[in-house]
């Protein structure tokens, strides 16, 4: 996600090799309507809701050699990302999981998660 001082998010890594990643901004406006399909007046609401939110799920694995977590997208909220393989450097210290991704242009993004107990 873009720089955000108050992120919401979860990553679940299961024993079958599946994962779920969901994240977004804490403050996102609610729709005025109670139904997501009452769209006539809510194109802007839909855009705002989508842009502050990300989710993907699929399969995960760890590459020991370079200490990376690899997530292969099967379901992505950005349909363009279907089948994408994302690789993050992973470090686990105590209950903290740190994921660092370096983009092709050198941009570095980092997220830290804490184990849920």
């Amino acid at each position: 996600m873009p720089s955000d001082s108050n992120p919401k998010g979860i990553v679940v890594l299961d024993a079958t090799g599946r994962y779920a990643s969901v994240q977004g901004r804490a403050e996102r406006p609610k729709f005025k309507s109670a139904s997501r399909l009452q769209l006539e007046a809510t194109a802007d609401e839909m855009k705002a809701a989508i842009l502050g939110f990300g989710a993907n799920m699929g399969t995960w694995s760890v590459n020991e050699a370079d200490k990376t977590l690899i997530r292969k997208y099967e379901i992505a909220l950005i349909p363009n990302n279907d089948g994408l393989e994302r690789k993050d450097t992973v470090t686990l210290s105590g209950d903290d999981l740190r994921l660092v991704q370096t983009a092709a242009n050198g941009a570095r993004s980092e997220a830290v998660y804490r184990r849920s107990k």
């Binding site: 919401k8 998010g9 679940v12 090799g17 779920a20 609610k30 729709f31 939110f53 799920m57 694995s61």
Partner: protein
């Protein structure tokens, strides 16, 4: 379909489902406590969608219930358009409409009460559900099939039955 993750004891303990909450981005520490619940044992695991009418005849979806009482759910229509500009910040109104109405994702804590599955929503793609308690009825697990009814779907309309199958 499933790849087998490489075992990595020093990087991750994979004996149980690991769930992590986002606490920082770019080094800023933020953490809010989470509710604890007592999940029914059979529910723990990962499920793929079999049937969810609101998301078309062949929906895509994954639902994970962990042993700590947390869940994460995502459902999507299989036929959603890719962003033509290949940049979601430059989507067309029709693209936002199709993707926003053809998908949903949320996570939080869960519990089972009788035949009700209670999903407390901490965070959702549908912002109106944030902080709400979503009660699903007719909750059953038979063999590897999990079913429930959503009496108030986020897309409106009448009650919808959802069916999930356990991933092994």
């Amino acid at each position: 379909m499933l790849s087998t993750p490489a075992t990595s004891e020093d990087v991750m303990n994979r004996r149980s489902i690991l769930t992590y909450s986002a606490i920082t981005a770019l080094g800023l520490t933020l953490y809010s406590g989470s509710a604890i619940s007592q999940p029914a044992k059979d529910i723990v695991g990962t499920w793929t969608i079999v049937s969810a009418e609101a998301f078309g005849p062949s929906p895509k979806g994954l639902l994970i219930f962990d042993a700590n009482g947390r869940y994460s759910l995502m459902l999507m229509r299989p036929d959603l358009p890719k962003y033509a500009m290949n940049n979601r910040t430059q989507g067309a109104a029709e693209e936002y409409k199709a993707i926003g109405s053809g998908s949903i994702s949320y996570y939080g804590t869960y519990s089972v009460s009788g035949s009700d599955l209670i999903l407390r929503v901490e965070y959702s793609s549908f912002p109106n559900w944030n902080g709400t308690e979503q009660r699903r009825t007719n909750f059953t697990i038979v063999g590897d099939e999990l079913k429930y009814t959503n009496t108030a779907p986020s897309v409106g309309g009448s009650a919808a039955a959802l069916v999930w199958r356990r991933v092994k």
